[in-house]
């Protein structure tokens, strides 16, 4: 008796483009959430797994910068928004073959900074624009591709350092 075992596997890799960070903004009721996914190259200038003390320090410094959201973006103060949840992480996407420990493959790794901030707002309609000190904070940063959704529908923005803001007037 013979058995045939067919190993089914699906291979897929998330897109990853240096110089392009992703930002998702969702608005529901009085809550607004910002979710950033930014390639390591845009933040610390490298994407290999940090091994040297200097690189580890850079990563930690960057994570600390993300801890204070005002380094990344600002919302109008008259919207009375209060931060009520945040998560900052470095997603290390180690695609090594398990039997392959050669260091030269390390360059194929892609690190991604992930940061999510959730706000409760007293006057959410006052968020007529969002500014991004992000571009000044991280000099390696490229553009941000923004997906935005509220009860008014969804839209998108492309933000770059020369005009680091989006106009959300009438969209919330």
């Amino acid at each position: 008796m013979t058995f045939t075992i067919s190993a089914e596997e699906t291979r897929q890799v998330d897109k990853h483009e240096h110089g392009v960070g992703e930002l998702n903004i969702a608005v529901e009721g009085s809550t607004i959430e910002f979710e950033f996914m930014i390639p390591g190259a845009d933040i610390v200038g490298f994407e290999y797994v940090a091994k040297s003390d200097e690189d580890i320090a850079k990563i930690n410094q960057a994570l600390k910068t993300f801890d204070d959201y005002t380094n990344i973006f600002t919302i109008p103060s008259n919207s009375l928004c209060e931060l009520n949840g945040q998560k900052v992480a470095l997603k290390e996407d180690d695609e090594h073959d398990e039997h392959d420990d050669h260091d030269e493959h390390a360059e194929e790794n892609h690190n991604e900074f992930y940061a999510k901030y959730s706000f409760e707002c007293g006057n959410i309609n006052a968020i007529k624009e969002v500014n991004f000190p992000y571009f000044a904070t991280f000099t390696n940063s490229g553009e941000l591709e923004v997906q935005f959704i509220s009860n008014m529908g969804s839209t998108s923005f492309e933000v770059e350092g020369d005009e680091p803001s989006i106009n959300t007037d009438g969209k919330i």
């Binding site: 979710e35 509220s150 009860n151 529908g153 998108s156």
Partner: protein, 416 residues
């Protein structure tokens, strides 16, 4: 006094001045209609689908998914299996969903298989729902509901029989299973107008005797037998999805995009519309550029006309000087002339624009599905007009200064 003098002078040259005003009016109208069409097209375009949070289809680009699922342009690369669809809609984030099955056609109009949720959930222009204008819902397996455009162009009414063709441009018909129009939808100005809607089961039914895109030779299952078969859909082309909370949307989107069993894509319709509009926007800017150029050309034309009339009018100016007008007054007169011409052009062009829009609006709506709003001038238009008047007065300074020199040199005696 000065105004009356200018008016009379313009009146004396009615024909040339009239032609100038007409030329400028036409170019201003061109600019305004391009602007109007541009904004109307954008609104019509973005109003095509609302309230839908995500569109799910096989792995493809967001623009392509939007084009085939909403605008019925182009084709899907793949369908998605019913199992995957169920996995997606069983997620707790999903509030409602509408499956869509495409691929067949009727006389050039796309046939879309869906269920009753479509009529409840598909919204356009904000909160607008699609409504039946005549007839009733899809009750029978072989019922179809047609959009207003289909009914009008093919002259169909409730009860008209029709045959669905296999594929989009093919000569093979599903003629063994004729359908019947059960309802006609009210006009929406969206691609729904040009869609033939059947049930998902009907799509399965007409493909019973088909295998991998071709009819199985000699096999014709009788309609009565098909009616008894299990016609639950095995695959669909795309699905419209609504979520419980907008805050969960990106999480769900990521889950769908990383769904391991099948390669799926999920897009936010508004995001894809923006992306598509950015592509179309190039043409839009081109049109705008052309109309701005036309306005400039006309301004230069106006200057040229004033210039060429200067020689003929040296006597007129000599008389003005004799009446006691200083050379500065001559400059003022010519600038006033340009001012009056531009104001008159603006009035004429606005009247012409509204008349044209009024006449063409139904045609544009019918042919292109773009509803041009005939509304009062926007603040932006007023700015443009003011800018134009200032530009016209400034440009007229060139001939005016020349006239100033003429009148200083000529005095009251003209040396030609």
């Amino acid at each position: 006094m000065l105004l009356k003098l200018t008016f009379n002078s313009l009146y004396a040259r009615l024909l040339t001045v009239g032609m100038t005003v007409f030329a400028i009016s036409l170019s201003l109208m061109l600019y305004m209609s391009v602007e109007k069409l541009r904004t109307s097209a954008y609104t019509s375009f973005t109003d095509t689908i609302s309230q839908t949070d995500l569109i799910v289809g096989a792995r493809t680009s967001s623009v392509q998914l939007l084009l085939y699922s909403v605008f019925r342009i182009g084709n899907a690369t793949n369908n998605i299996t019913w199992e995957s669809y169920e996995d997606v809609i069983n997620k707790k984030e999903v509030a409602w969903s509408v499956p869509i099955s495409l691929g067949d056609s009727h006389k050039g109009f796309r046939v879309m298989g869906t269920n009753s949720e479509f009529f409840k959930r598909y919204k356009y222009r904000g909160e607008q729902s699609i409504e039946l204008e005549q007839g009733k819902n899809l009750d029978d397996l072989y019922d179809v509901i047609i959009g207003a455009g289909v009914a009008e162009k093919l002259n169909y009414s409730v009860g008209t029989p029709l045959i669905v063709s296999h594929g989009l441009q093919s000569f093979s018909d599903h003629d063994d299973q004729p359908f019947k129009v059960s309802g006609i939808l009210a006009k929406t100005g969206t691609p729904v107008d040009n869609t033939v809607i059947v049930s998902l089961e009907a799509i399965e039914a007409i493909h019973v005797d088909w295998s991998t895109g071709a009819k199985i030779p000699g096999q014709i299952t009788p309609v009565e037998e098909i009616r008894q078969m299990d016609l639950s859909p095995k695959n669909i082309t795309a699905a419209l999805i609504g979520v419980n909370s907008k805050l969960q949307i990106f999480q769900l989107q990521r889950w769908i995009n990383e769904y391991p069993e099948e390669s799926l894509s999920s897009i936010l319709p508004g995001v894809a519309l923006q992306e598509l509009w950015r592509i179309v926007g190039v043409v839009e800017n081109l049109l705008l550029g052309i109309s701005v150029t036309v306005i400039f050309t006309t301004l230069i034309g106006m200057t040229a006309i004033i210039f060429s009339s200067l020689n003929e009018r040296r006597r007129e100016m000599a008389i003005w000087r004799a009446m006691g007008a200083s050379p500065k007054v001559v400059i003022g007169l010519l600038m006033l002339e340009a001012f009056i011409i531009s104001v008159m052009s603006i009035i004429v062009s606005t009247v012409m624009l509204f008349l044209t829009l009024y006449v063409l609006q139904p045609w544009i709506d019918n042919t292109y599905g773009i509803l041009v709003n005939i509304e009062m001038l926007a603040v932006k238009d007023i700015y443009i007009f003011m800018l134009f008047i200032i530009a016209a007065s400034l440009v007229s300074l060139i001939p005016a200064i020349r006239a100033y020199w003429f009148s200083i040199n000529d005095g009251m005696t003209i040396k030609i």
